[in-house]
């Protein structure tokens, strides 16, 4: 359902993404992993229209959506969340989710019913009247998820939804994400928390210096020497070589 081909974006001399390609279908949860600064968030932003790529194409459900404005991409069913949570601070949890639900209906009562239903799907039904500014990090991450879910997406791009959570909270979100996928929504996620990636993802793309350096089943990818080098750094590789010579 999503085909990204040779996508590139540079900031001055820095190639944030450098000819990255990936493709995914609805029936899988795909992880986009890589060390810090690999370009994961920029790639997400370029796919969802928040950043205009310099070259390359993004095709969603057979339609070229490269450089389409973000709101239009969102309406086509490709919806992102943010690594740094972005709640509507002066709205309650319910009202936050309703803003998402309003993407599918103009009717206040329908939007409200839908928001309540979504809230219970992500385990926030007891927080509906809370001000979103008073939420814990874990609850904010759930709210990000709930809002995106309320728009009836076909594909969710989840940017680090588990960063900053404790293992119990991670396990809870993992269950929620699994259920979302089972309901027929495609998922592409970036994640630092390997516990979550291992529990969730069927497939992984590994990004380093803006390039896809490996792709495949997670267990295979994690043993790829190029991937190990990317994570542990070239210094370790040199050290190994030095040891071999000695």
């Amino acid at each position: 359902m999503l085909e990204v081909t040779q996508l590139s974006k540079r900031y001055g001399g820095l190639r944030a993404i450098d000819g990255a390609s990936l493709s995914l279908s609805k029936d899988r949860i795909v992880a986009l992993i890589g060390p810090n600064g690999a370009g994961k968030t920029t790639l997400f932003a370029a796919i969802s229209g928040f950043v205009k790529p310099d070259s390359g194409t993004v095709v969603f459900n057979g339609e070229n959506i490269t450089a389409t404005p973000p709101h239009a991409i969102s309406r086509k069913g490709l919806v992102r969340t943010f690594q740094i949570t972005q709640p509507f601070m002066r709205l309650s949890v319910l009202e936050n989710i309703m803003v998402g639900a309003y993407a599918t209906t103009a009717n206040r009562r329908l939007a409200r019913d839908k928001a309540v239903e979504i809230a219970s799907r992500v385990g926030m039904e007891h927080l509906l009247d809370m001000d979103s500014s008073g939420l814990t990090v874990a609850a904010r991450k759930r709210l990000e998820l709930a809002r995106a879910l309320a728009t009836d997406p076909q594909l969710l791009l989840l940017d680090e939804v588990m960063a900053g959570l404790n293992p119990t909270e991670v396990a809870e979100i993992v269950e929620i994400v699994k259920k979302i996928q089972e309901s027929g929504i495609g998922i592409l996620l970036t994640e630092h928390v390997m516990q979550a990636v291992v529990a969730l993802a069927d497939d992984a793309y590994v990004l380093n210096n803006g390039r896809v350096i490996a792709h495949g089943a997670l267990s295979v990818v994690m043993r790829d020497p190029a991937v190990i080098e990317a994570y542990l750094g070239e210094d370790t590789a040199h050290l190994d070589a030095g040891d071999a010579h000695a």
Partner: protein, 321 residues
Amino acid sequence: MASATRLKLPLLLALLAAVLLYPWIFTSNYAVNWGMLVLFTAFLGQSWNVSGGFAGQMSFGHAAFFGTGAYAYSILVVSYGINPWLAWLLAMVAGGAMGAMIGFLSFRFGLKGSYFALITLAFAEFLRVMADSVSFTQGGLGILIPLQSGAPMQFEHAWESYYLAAAMCLVAVLIAAGLKYTRFGARLVAIRDNESAAMALGIDIFRQKVLCLTLSGAMAGAGGGFYVSKYLYVDPHIAYNLGRSVEMLLVTMVGGAGTVFGPLWGAAAIGALGELTRSLSQSPGLSLVVYGVILIAIVAFLPGGLTSMLGLLRKRCRHHA
């Protein structure tokens, strides 16, 4: 929640009754005109509130819409002899068109925050200079609406304009309440709180902002038309006065931006304060000094305005109970 709603209805009815009965209790022309000005200022504040309060697009030049409405009304009535009520309607359209145009130009280029405030200020100043120099506004001479007894939209008694201002205020409150309970309003608030998140949820922020400034401009345009019909004269200074823009944002910030009744409380408070300073001192600049101090105090200590003070008090009472 339910008890708060139950409490609110009698309060609203009491407020409505107070507004309706005021000219019967304070019968002097001065008092009735004072009440009219409070309601009229609240109406203009509500226009600013739609874009500045709900959508967070803080304009410093709402006089651009007010003045355009004022001139549209005057020119249509005096030069074209159009029925004043129809001219009033067209003044509203003109204000809305000006809102759409300024909104389109500013938001197309992504102006936000203080940049948006400055560009709106510049537009209002530009219009003032234009009105001073082109012939169809009669330049600095201004336009005088001939006084005709019994002509439509001319007010023989103070209470007539008072009740018209009250009706406008009611409509404005209904518009604000509408924003509180509709998708359009929810989207504006979402844009105010976080533009990126709003975009990610499929909201076309450019379109919503232009629509919002159009609505706001139409309201201010209607205000301009009403003003001329009451005072029968307009010139560039009256129409596009910076003081007008400031007054609109002042009453709203003081009362509570982004709330349904904020502009009303703000206009009442500022109106009462104006009377007070006038009775205490003869120097005409004093009220402006006091306004400035109050605005600073509100922004520093009570950013939610007078409306939020009620909420804070209620919370404190609950803690004590």
